[in-house]
């Protein structure tokens, strides 16, 4: 047994030593823990760690196969996301004990705080005392055993799993109900209690999902939505798109769901032109040579940055919204073009990991597919707070797409209409976020960058929080960003346009005199290399493309991504539909599209008189509309429409170059 003294070691040093002991198979004793956070995070070896005192937040979190014994209390999120192994707390535990459990056992001998077992998916969370408010909130599976009383709203919005309460239940949560014990339930509980030397001689009440909420009974009629307003002769207000919307709501009686992003005109990069005549690009067919496009993202605190061959990333999109085949094609295209791929929600696939040279692993509120082992093989990790298409909402995946394979990787029941929570269980403010960020960095030994994915809302404040909390980079997503499924109300009406987002971000960082060390990656309606250069001139360090990549890879933009029967095999989990997708061909198409972006970026950079794309600036841009001039502060020069036409010419040139 190795003794580590936390009054002498900081937590990073201690965790490195704990992992070293893990590799040697030696148990560890922690003295003077004094409720410090993130003890043992990232341990993936089957050793025992004894904490002589109290632990802070995330004790034993993001671990696999390890055993933790905490003599006294634990702070928030004891045993966060463990896969196997156990975390035993001798005293009381704070809020969200056993959050996001994927297996293993968390035992709290005393009382446990609010929202215990939130979004847990498997394993057992057992509490010897009382459970506070909302035990089992949004749980997807597994078992919670509470020997004492349970406070209000037990099992609030649970999708599956079982909660056994030995004491009084103050009230049930919405969509939870009391059910009869099944044969074997009590024997299984008794066996568990015996193993931990816990005694109980009463009866249990069993709580399970009532399954009445979160189901769509009536489907929308199948049709191809009208992407934009079509002005009728008599009226441009009650136009056919508006009428159609009203008819369909009259039929289904609820909000409508579709894929893609806002389909209304908003100020965008088309309203911006280059201040100089860039028509000389025509002579620059070979422009890629001699122009530096290389871009590093995420080295703010000494982690190994993403090293991109050009300032382009592939936007986060989930295996779930998209088929396995498309994720493989995207990963391959990212490798061929020397850029990064992103897992999005829903976990990392082996083939995706193998195909992509640089892979960003995204953590969302539901922690679907999130786990320490994939974190440790990622090239960057990213906390998703929200996305441009639907700020403030969690992901939605309609039942048709929740196949057995997909459910297994996410750890959820097959065939539910899956809602991810709208917020993280353990991030309820910038203050909690700091501790969560530390946990993630501890789990990967501070080796890889930690980014933030954020939909554009109150960007000016949020970007300051991101900077002060210490993110390495921020992916900022405007209103035009797309999604696999969201309500049209949110798609069309929530968020701010991408150009407003970049401007607010730049202004916010300037206001606090931030150094240039947290990179801004902008996304939301970036359709080509011309947009990318404009965005970088506005202050972005890099752009991210999702929809454009998918369209390059075969999407026909029918906006029915949520239905699950994508005719080209992209937004589907149906094997028959997916079989239509030709991975090899589409990966090449996407790769060629990225190469066309490369050429466009290089050619414009050269035409603007630079040899490095990172030297473009606001001085290179003018606004073509007063509205965009107002948003961006760029000079309003309507006469530059001629140059805007030169931009259009570039699109045709890119074909020539490709």
């Amino acid at each position: 047994m190795v003794t580590l003294d936390l009054s002498q070691l900081n937590i990073t040093e201690a965790n490195l030593k704990i992992r070293e002991c893990g590799r040697k198979g030696e148990d560890v004793e922690i003295i003077n823990p004094d409720a410090r956070h993130n003890i043992g995070v990232g341990l993936v070896e089957p050793i025992t760690v004894r904490v002589r005192g109290s632990a802070g937040y995330f004790c034993g979190g993001l671990t696999d196969s390890a055993h933790f014994e905490i003599e006294n209390n634990a702070g928030w999120a004891a045993g966060d996301n463990i896969y196997n192994g156990s975390v035993i707390v001798g005293g009381n535990a704070g809020a969200i004990a056993g959050v996001g459990l994927r297996g293993g056992e968390v035992v709290i001998r005393g009382n446990m705080g609010s929202r215990a077992g939130q979004i847990m998916k498997a394993g057992t969370l057992c509490c010897g005392g009382k459970a506070a408010f909302m035990a089992g909130y949004m749980m997807y599976g597994g078992r919670i055993i509470i020997l004492g009383d349970a406070a209000e709203k037990v099992g609030q919005d649970m999708s599956a799993g079982e909660i056994f309460v030995g004491g009084q239940i103050e009230s049930l949560g919405s969509d939870a109900e009391i059910v009869d014990l099944a044969p074997g339930d009590l024997e299984s509980i008794q066996e568990f209690l015996d193993r931990y030397g816990m005694s109980f001689d009463g009866t249990f009440t069993k709580v399970a999902s009532a399954g009445k909420k979160l189901r769509y009974n009536k489907q929308e009629p199948r049709h191809r939505p009208q992407p934009f307003f079509v002005h009728s002769k008599s009226s441009d207000y009650w136009n056919p798109k508006v009428q159609e919307d009203i008819w369909i709501k009259g039929e289904v009686g609820r909000y409508r769901i579709r894929g893609y992003g806002a389909s209304k005109p908003v100020p965008h990069l088309n309203d911006i032109a280059f201040a100089r005549d860039v028509s000389s690009v025509e002579a620059n067919v070979g422009a890629v040579e001699g122009i530096n496009l290389r871009t590093k993202v995420g080295g703010r605190y000494g982690a190994k940055p993403l090293d991109l061959s050009m300032p382009v990333m592939i936007a986060p999109m989930s295996f779930g919204a998209l088929s396995r085949s498309v994720k493989i094609a995207l990963a391959r295209a990212s490798r061929l073009s020397g850029i990064s791929e992103n897992t999005g929600e829903g976990g990392m696939m082996d083939q995706q990991r193998d195909e992509a040279d640089q892979l960003v692993f995204q953590m969302l509120s539901g922690r679907l597919g999130w786990n320490v082992k994939d974190m440790q093989r990622a090239d960057a990790i990213e906390i998703y707070i929200s996305q441009g298409a639907k700020p403030g909402l969690g992901g939605q995946l309609m039942a048709k797409k929740v196949t057995p394979e997909l459910a297994a990787i996410r750890g959820i029941p097959v065939g539910i209409d899956l809602r991810s929570p709208s917020r993280h269980p353990d991030v309820l403010g910038a203050d909690d976020l700091v501790i969560k960020m530390d946990e993630l960095r501890e789990a990967v030994g501070h080796r890889i960058p930690l980014g933030l994915k954020m939909g554009a809302g109150r960007v000016k404040d949020d970007i300051k929080i991101a900077y002060k909390d210490g993110f390495d980079f921020v992916e900022l997503d405007g209103l035009q960003g797309s999604t696999g499924a969201a309500s049209t109300e949110v798609l069309e009406n929530v968020g701010i346009p991408t150009i407003s987002a970049i401007q607010e971000a730049v202004d916010g960082l300037n206001e606090i005199n931030a150094d240039d060390d947290m990179q801004l990656v902008l996304m939301g309606g970036i359709k080509d290399g011309v947009d990318a250069v404009k965005m970088m001139a506005l202050g972005a360090h890099c752009v991210s493309v999702g929809t454009a990549a998918i369209i390059a890879g075969g999407c026909i933009a029918c906006m029915q991504c949520h239905v699950g029967t994508c005719p080209v095999g992209i937004a589907t989990q149906d094997p028959a539909h997916e079989s239509r997708y030709d991975i090899d061909r589409q990966a090449q198409n996407m790769h060629r599209f990225f190469e066309s972006m490369r050429w466009q970026m290089a050619a414009i950079t050269k035409a603007l008189g630079y040899d490095d794309i990172h030297r473009v600036s606001r001085d290179d841009l003018v606004a073509l509309t007063p509205e965009v001039a107002d948003i961006t502060g760029l000079p309003y020069v309507p006469g530059h429409r001629d140059h805007a036409r030169a931009d259009d010419d570039l699109s045709s040139l890119s074909r020539k170059a490709g």
Binding site: R36, H37, N73, A132, F133, D431, V434, I512
Partner: protein, 300 residues
């Protein structure tokens, strides 16, 4: 975007209050690195104690202090003692009029942050230890106090936006708050109609004014906290202190953390146990987490 801490010693007398709060706030400084503040309660002073935030450049400071002096003259208040330190100007004054009118007028023309016979609010940019270096908080002996660390999102980190907040118009009352009120504007308009003025857009200032108003109407601190939980919408954990009490209130959703420790000698409350543990290094402490939607007070 904050961390909070409070402590009350059960035995009357002078305790190492400053030290204790610095330790606790240093323990949760990760929750708010931009500014740190203290509301400290010591022996009752003969004269009214006022602390102002003034500019740190000499010219600006002289001008602000001249202005404060003329305001005091206008209200027949005379300075007995004065101290200019850091970004603050502290005075004790002889004053015999109506405190509410007096402070209301002064607050319109100067940045008054602390008023009372037992209370001193010290707040500035920087960490707990940095604030201590300037203001010598660690030398403060007293009976109880509360403190706060803050992450700012406004353009410049301004000391007057730091916590604790003094309850406008009512001496010796202070609050610290962690969280966000979502019905801020609605409640602010309600209090403005009752004659209160607001000097920041900070929702924590509203908590202070709300409680002061309730206390002025004759409610006990407990009653004020009880109605606060019903009236305030959003996520919050806050601490309040009066000359003889400290109390907390916690929202219905338990969205902001708070842990509590009671020993034979003291009551300590903080955002995180790591702060409480600073009072007892190397020992396991027997803390509890208050339930959602609850409040509690303790008296000296």
């Amino acid at each position: 975007m904050c961390g909070i801490a409070g402590i009350l010693y059960k035995q009357a007398g002078s305790h190492e209050l400053g030290h204790a709060l610095i330790d606790m706030l240093d323990g949760c400084q990760h929750r708010g690195p931009d500014s740190t503040g203290f509301a400290l309660y010591g022996d009752r002073q003969e004269h009214l104690q006022l602390r102002f935030i003034v500019p740190t450049d000499e010219a600006g400071r002289d001008k602000a202090i001249d202005n404060i002096r003329s305001l005091l003259t206008k209200h027949n208040a005379s300075i007995v003692e004065e101290l200019s330190v850091g970004c603050s100007y502290k005075i004790s004054v002889k004053f015999e009029g109506d405190l509410l009118d007096f402070t209301k007028d002064i607050e319109e023309h100067a940045k008054l942050v602390s008023v009372g016979h037992t209370l001193d609010i010290i707040k500035d940019d920087g960490t707990a230890h940095q604030v201590d270096d300037t203001y010598h908080v660690s030398e403060f002996k007293g009976s109880h106090g509360i403190g706060h660390v803050r992450l700012a999102t406004e353009s410049a980190v301004r000391p007057e936006a730091a916590h604790p907040f003094w309850a406008t118009g009512f001496e010796d009352i202070a609050i610290v708050h962690n969280g966000q009120l979502t019905n801020y504007w609605k409640m602010r308009r309600r209090l403005q109609r009752r004659g209160f003025t607001f000097h920041t857009d900070n929702d924590s200032e509203l908590v202070a004014v709300y409680l002061a108003d309730k206390l002025a109407q004759g409610n006990t601190l407990e009653q004020a906290l009880q109605t606060a939980i019903e009236d305030m919408d959003g996520t919050f954990s806050f601490l309040v202190s009066t000359p003889t009490e400290i109390g907390f209130a916690k929202d219905h959703l338990a969205a902001k953390p708070m842990v509590l420790l009671e020993t034979d000698d003291l009551i300590a409350v903080a955002s995180e146990e790591v702060s409480l543990n600073r009072l007892f290094p190397g020992q396991a402490i027997n803390s509890t987490e208050p339930a959602p939607g609850t409040y509690q007070t303790w008296s000296l």
